[in-house]
Symmetry: C2
Subunit: 303 residues, 2 copies
C-alpha cells in the first residue's frame, strides 16, 4: 500500500458571516478547516498545519480531532485566532469583507512536523505565497501539490506567486483572480497565460457556474451541482479543493480519469458546504450522501 | 418516414452591432434567420414565417434560399425591414440597445401558409406572445413546440405569456428573464415557478455558463463549449434553439436521450454563431465541423 497521507497548510479561523439567508457570529471557519473536513470523507489520514490563538474554543479542536484530522501541525500561539467578518449580498460569488484580523496569523512561520514531511499529497490553501513556498520546501518529494491563492496576493506578491506556480501540479483560482493574474477576460486565455508562466495545470472556479480544468493533456468543464438552497458560500472553494485532494489521494493516482472524477467530487463537496453555515452540513454527512449526490450529478450531465 | 418539417416564426432583421471585437453596420440578423440556418444543419426542411420590407437586400433572401430555408411564409411588406442596433461591452451576456425600429414588424400579422400548417416541429422565436399564440392556433397538432421570449414581453404581456406557456412543450428564457418572470433568484426556483404555471419543461440559457433544462422527468446541466474567440454574441440563443429543434426533428423523437443530446447540439451551434458577426461563421460550416466540435465538447464533459 502506498502512502496516501494528505498535508494541508491553511487557516483555521473564527468567522462572522451575514448572507441574505442568515447571520452567524464567531463560527468555525478557515481554509484548512473546510478542506480537511472535506478531504476526510475520502481519506482518513488528513493532517493540517495551521495556527490558532489561545482563545480558540476547545470544542472546535475536539471537533477536528473527532473527525480524525491530524493536528500535530496545529500550533497554539499566544494571542487571538485569525478572525474574518464578511457579508454576502445576492451575488453569492463575492463577499464584502467587513474586517480581517490576522492576529496570530500575522507572525505565523509554518512548521511542518518531521512526521509529516513526506506526505505525498499537499494542499497549499490560500496564504501568503512566500509561506506556501516555505512549506513546500519543507516537504520531501510530494506526489501531487494543489495550490490556491487570492486577489490580495496576486496584487501584492505577484513575483512570489509566479515563482511558486512552477513548483506545483495544479494551480487553483477563481474567475476574478484568473483575470487579475493574466490581464485577460477570456478564461481559456487566462489559463493559457498561467500555463505559459509554468503552471502545469490550472483550475478556475466559477462559483455557481462550476469549474474549469486546463492542462496540456486535456481540458474539462464541470457545471456546478444544482442547488435550491444556498445559505452561506464561505468555504466552497476549500471544500472543493479538499474533496479533490481527498479523492485523488484515495485513488492514489492522478490519472486523467481520476482527475476528471476528482473535479466532480470536489464540486459535490462544495455543494454540500454552502447549504449551511460553517461546516455544519459537512459534519452531518455520511459518505453515502456524497455518493448519492455524485450519482445525481452524473445524471444531470449525461448527454 | 414521418414528417420532420420545422416551422419557425420569428424576425428577419438588419442589425448594426458593436462589440469589443469589432463593428458592423446593416448586417443580416433576426431570430428566424439564426435559428433556421442553425436548424438547417440537421434538417433540410426548415421553413420560416416572418416579414421583411421592400428594402431587404435580395442577396439576403437568396442566401436563405440557397441554404434551403423554405421562404413561402416570408412576407415582403411595404415599408422598411426591422432594424436593431446594439452595443456589447465586455459583459457579452447583455447588449445595450441603441435603437429598435420595428418598421414592417409593427403591423405584422403572421400568416402560416396552408402548406405549412401541419409542420410537426414549431419554434416560436421571440416576438409578442399574442402573435406567438396566434401562429400556434394556425398550426394543426404540432408534435413539439419550443417557445422563446424576452424581458420586454415578461413585463408588458405577462398574462399572455403565462397563457401561452401552458400550450408549449419547452419554454426558453435566459437567466435574467427567468428571474424577472418568477421573482426568484435561484434558477431551480425560477424553473419550478414556470412549471407551476403550466410549463412542461423549462430551458434557462446562461450565456457563457451554459444552459439548464428542467422537466418533471429529468434535469440537465450543459456547460457552454469553451471558446477563446467570441466576436459577436448576437444570435447565440436563436442558434441554440435552431440546433436543438434541428436535431430533435432529425431524430423524429423527443426522447430523454435525444433531448439531452439536442441541448448539446444547440450549445455547439451557439458556440459557432458567436465566433463571427451575423451568420458568417454558421454559413462557413460543414456538418462534420459540427460533429467534430460536438465530440470535443463530450470530451471536456466526460467525468
Amino acid at each position: 500500500m502506498s502512502d496516501k497521507r494528505i498535508l494541508i497548510i491553511g487557516s483555521v479561523a473564527i468567522d462572522s458571516i451575514e448572507t441574505p439567508f442568515g447571520k452567524r457570529n464567531s463560527i468555525l471557519g478557515g481554509s484548512a478547516t473546510y478542506s480537511s473536513i472535506s478531504a476526510s470523507f475520502f481519506n482518513k489520514d488528513v493532517n493540517i498545519v495551521a495556527v490558532v490563538g489561545r482563545d480558540f474554543p476547545k470544542a472546535h479542536t475536539s471537533l477536528l480531532a473527532r473527525r480524525g484530522i491530524g493536528l500535530d501541525g496545529l500550533e497554539v500561539a499566544d494571542g487571538k485566532t485569525f478572525r474574518w467578518k464578511g457579508n454576502y449580498r445576492y451575488d453569492l460569488n463575492s463577499p464584502r469583507t467587513i474586517y480581517t484580523h490576522l492576529n496570530v496569523f500575522k507572525d505565523f512561520k509554518p512548521f511542518v512536523p518531521a512526521g509529516l514531511r513526506n506526505c505525498p499529497y499537499v494542499f497549499l490553501a490560500n496564504i501568503d505565497p512566500d509561506l506556501q513556498d516555505e512549506v513546500l520546501s519543507q516537504v520531501k518529494g510530494p506526489k501531487l501539490v494543489l495550490c490556491d491563492t487570492m486577489n490580495f496576493w496576486i496584487q501584492s506578491k505577484r513575483k512570489s506567486l509566479l515563482k511558486l506556480m512552477k513548483k506545483v501540479d495544479m494551480f487553483l483560482m477563481n474567475e476574478g483572480e484568473a483575470r487579475l493574474l493574466s490581464g485577460e477576460t477570456n478564461l481559456i486565455k487566462c489559463a493559457k497565460f498561467a500555463m505559459s508562466k509554468g503552471a502545469r495545470s490550472v483550475i478556475i472556479k466559477k462559483g455557481e457556474h462550476g469549474v474549469l480544468f486546463f492542462s496540456k493533456r486535456f481540458n474539462c468543464a464541470v457545471p456546478a451541482y444544482l442547488l435550491e438552497t444556498i445559505r452561506d458560500p464561505t468555504g466552497a472553494g476549500d471544500s472543493f479543493a479538499g474533496g479533490m485532494m481527498g479523492y485523488l489521494s484515495y485513488k492514489r493516482k492522478a490519472s486523467e480519469r481520476n482527475l476528471r472524477k476528482s473535479l466532480v467530487y470536489g464540486s459535490i463537496m462544495a455543494s454540500f458546504a454552502v447549504e449551511d453555515f460553517s461546516v455544519r452540513r459537512l459534519l452531518g454527512l455520511k459518505r453515502r450522501d456524497v455518493e448519492r449526490r455524485y450519482n445525481r450529478f452524473l445524471d444531470t450531465t449525461r448527454f
